[in-house]
């Protein structure tokens, strides 16, 4: 076999490619030192003009970026410098995002604890004016409405995603459905509420407000998220798994349920939780379809049902006199809603860990 000799690269090019093994490296503590220096610079700069926390943090971040970049470029070359700058940038992005998010949780927990007492969980608002009262009727309402919404949208969403990925891939109907699921993500939450409200006014009669209406409105919002995330997860299942199952003489539907879904169940569980979390906090559709009531009602097919977001909204916007009682109840209701959704999150995380493919990354 004769090996044809092509043009060999010039010595400079070769030198350029071969990186020297031993390279000058900055000591490990450099990033922390540069951060400290940046803080000092920021304090000096803002000293005269009166110090606002936001200002100091911003200047420290920028100073740190410049400092670490220059230091690294000089000592370690531009590639390492870029790497350090990006590491700093990514950490700053994380810090930047944590400020508002932690502040939200801090405010809600701070204000919410005031009325976080047994009466809040054992009383409804029936016959209660001013102080006292609770949101038990709203808590039950949210659980029942969200549960029914999930029971409607998860099977439909899951099966639709299975169709899109396993059966209909490439067919015209599948393309139409994917296209329309995109459209459905675009439905504003209030319009979904209006739609269901108007539907029931025509079907049942004017001014009807039932628990099931809230669930349907939420289901309309949930289905696209469930379909999209499940579709994404199903596509991630490598094809050789499907072929392995087919080769074992396993029919297609059992391959999907036992192998494909089984492998991607952790991703699907996360997708479903995100969908439930997003929907449990919706206020607008429930405001239009359910309105508010003061008593506990477990039957979604008869009479109104209070839910936590609407309860928090009305307690905040129409607190009555003195206003503090209502506003406190609103914050506690918001806190309870967050805890409820967080518990949901935990349950789904357990499911996904329980069924996750047994492979370390």
């Amino acid at each position: 076999m004769t090996t044809t000799t092509g043009p060999s690269p010039s010595p400079e090019a070769v030198a350029e490619i071969e990186q020297p093994m031993r390279q000058a490296r900055l000591p490990r503590w450099t990033p922390w030192a540069s951060l400290a220096a940046a803080l000092v610079v920021a304090l000096l700069v803002t000293a005269p003009g009166g110090r606002s926390l936001g200002g100091v943090v911003a200047i420290t971040a920028i100073a740190h970026l410049v400092l670490i970049g220059v230091l690294s470029a000089v000592r370690e070359g531009s590639r390492r410098a870029k790497d350090r700058i990006v590491t700093a940038l990514v950490t700053i992005a994380f810090g930047l995002a944590m400020i508002p998010l932690v502040s939200v949780v801090w405010t809600v927990v701070g204000n919410g604890l005031a009325r976080f007492d047994t009466t809040f969980f054992t009383w409804s608002m029936r016959g209660v004016v001013g102080e006292g009262g609770g949101a038990l009727h709203a808590i039950w309402g949210t659980i029942i409405v969200t549960l029914i919404a999930a029971l409607i949208s998860v099977p439909v969403g899951l099966l639709a995603a299975v169709y899109l990925v396993e059966y209909g891939a490439g067919s015209r109907l599948a393309k139409a459905i994917t296209f329309l699921v995109d459209v459905m993500t675009g439905i504003p939450s209030i319009v979904a509420g209006l739609f269901v409200a108007a539907l029931f006014v025509i079907v049942v009669g004017p001014g009807t407000k039932l628990g099931i209406m809230g669930s349907l409105a939420l289901a309309v919002l949930m289905i696209p998220t469930v379909v999209r995330s499940t579709e994404e997860m199903l596509k991630l299942v490598p094809n050789d798994l499907r072929e392995a199952a087919y080769a074992l003489g396993v029919p297609k539907w059992r391959t999907i349920t036992k192998v494909v879904l089984r492998t991607s169940v952790s991703g699907i569980a996360t997708g479903i939780t995100l969908a439930i979390a997003r929907v449990a906090g919706e206020t607008a559709p429930l405001l239009v379809t359910l309105g508010i009531t003061t008593g506990t009602n477990f039957n979604p097919f008869d009479g109104r049902m209070a839910t936590l977001p609407v309860y928090a909204y009305y307690q905040y916007t129409q607190p009555g006199v003195p206003a503090e009682a209502g506003v406190e109840r609103a914050w506690t209701a918001a806190l309870v809603l967050i805890i409820l959704v967080m518990a949901l999150n935990l349950v789904a995380r357990l499911i996904s860990r329980l069924f996750a493919p047994k492979v370390g990354r």
Binding site: A169, G170, P238, D240, L241, R242, E243, A244, A245, Y246, A247, L248, G249, V250, P251, K252, R254, T255, K258, V259, R262, T263, F355, A356, P357, K358, V359
Partner: protein, 259 residues
């Protein structure tokens, strides 16, 4: 017991593109038939048409007859799923099920087919399959561990054990060793030598030495040009194919003149 497969005038299509043209051959039972040829000549496509895996791809179809034990596999009321229960397959890249342990992987074929089997029978089946795949001694004390925790070669043997667990009569292997190191490849080749006494084995390989070492008969596929359908040039005993093949193009391929 192993079965004879008689392929007559088989044409394989992807939609309306003819991938493999009029193949006629007989695959001997209790023997290893190797299929060699340049990439793109349709040998893998042909292999996948034997257990009707080809039809999994939307739009793919086959014309012609594949008769096993007097039964045409492409008869219109034959269910492709049950064909695959009789003709097992092992793939190029080892693909144990990620969510299952070693034990579950081997038992998957049976469990997924919802066959009612007592715990003890299942244990015996798993043990005999793993022994059959020369993997038992290495994994017998960690059957609960995840399948993906094994090395490449072990994973491939696990897939073989999984395939023989459903007691097929034919075993198809699509370049089983191309992703493995030499030692694992040797282990697989020895295993094939043992398995051929009980199964009809058809193996597709790029490695001509492997074909020579392992197979009893060899078929050479070739294609007239890029985008043209592949066809079976000739099939004969491995010794004759590698010493004096009847066709010139086989001679060129064997001696590696055009690589």
């Amino acid at each position: 017991m192993a079965k004879l497969i008689d392929v007559s005038d088989l044409n394989i299509y992807y939609g309306d593109f003819l991938a493999v043209e009029s193949v006629t051959m007989t695959i001997e039972p209790r023997a290893v038939t190797a299929l060699i040829g340049p990439s793109g000549c349709g040998k893998s496509t042909f292999l996948r048409s034997l257990n009707r895996m080809h039809e999994v791809i939307p739009g793919a179809r086959v014309e012609g007859k594949v008769v096993m034990d007097g039964q045409d596999l492409y008869d219109k009321d034959v269910d492709p799923v049950s064909v695959r229960q009789h003709i097992g397959m092992v793939f190029q890249r080892p693909n144990p099920f990620p969510t299952m342990s070693i034990y579950d992987n081997v038992a998957a074929g049976v469990r997924l087919n919802a066959k009612r089997m007592s715990k003890s029978d299942l244990d015996d089946l798993v043990e005999s399959s793993l022994r059959g795949a020369n993997l038992w001694t290495e994994v017998k004390d960690r059957l609960g561990k995840p399948g993906l925790g094994l090395s490449g070669g072990q994973q491939q043997r696990l897939c073989i054990a999984r395939a023989i667990a459903i007691r097929p009569s034919v075993l198809l292997m699509d370049e089983p060793c191309s992703a493995l190191d030499p030692i694992s490849t040797l282990a697989i080749e020895d295993l094939i030598g043992e398995l051929k006494s009980e199964y009809t084995i058809v193996i597709v390989t790029h490695n001509m030495q492997q074909a020579a070492r392992v197979s009893d008969r060899t078929g050479f596929f070739n294609l007239a040009g890029v985008g043209r359908p592949g066809h079976l040039v000739e099939i004969d005993d491995t010794s004759t194919i590698f010493s004096n093949p009847s066709q010139k193009s086989t001679e060129d391929y064997i001696s590696g003149r055009f690589g």
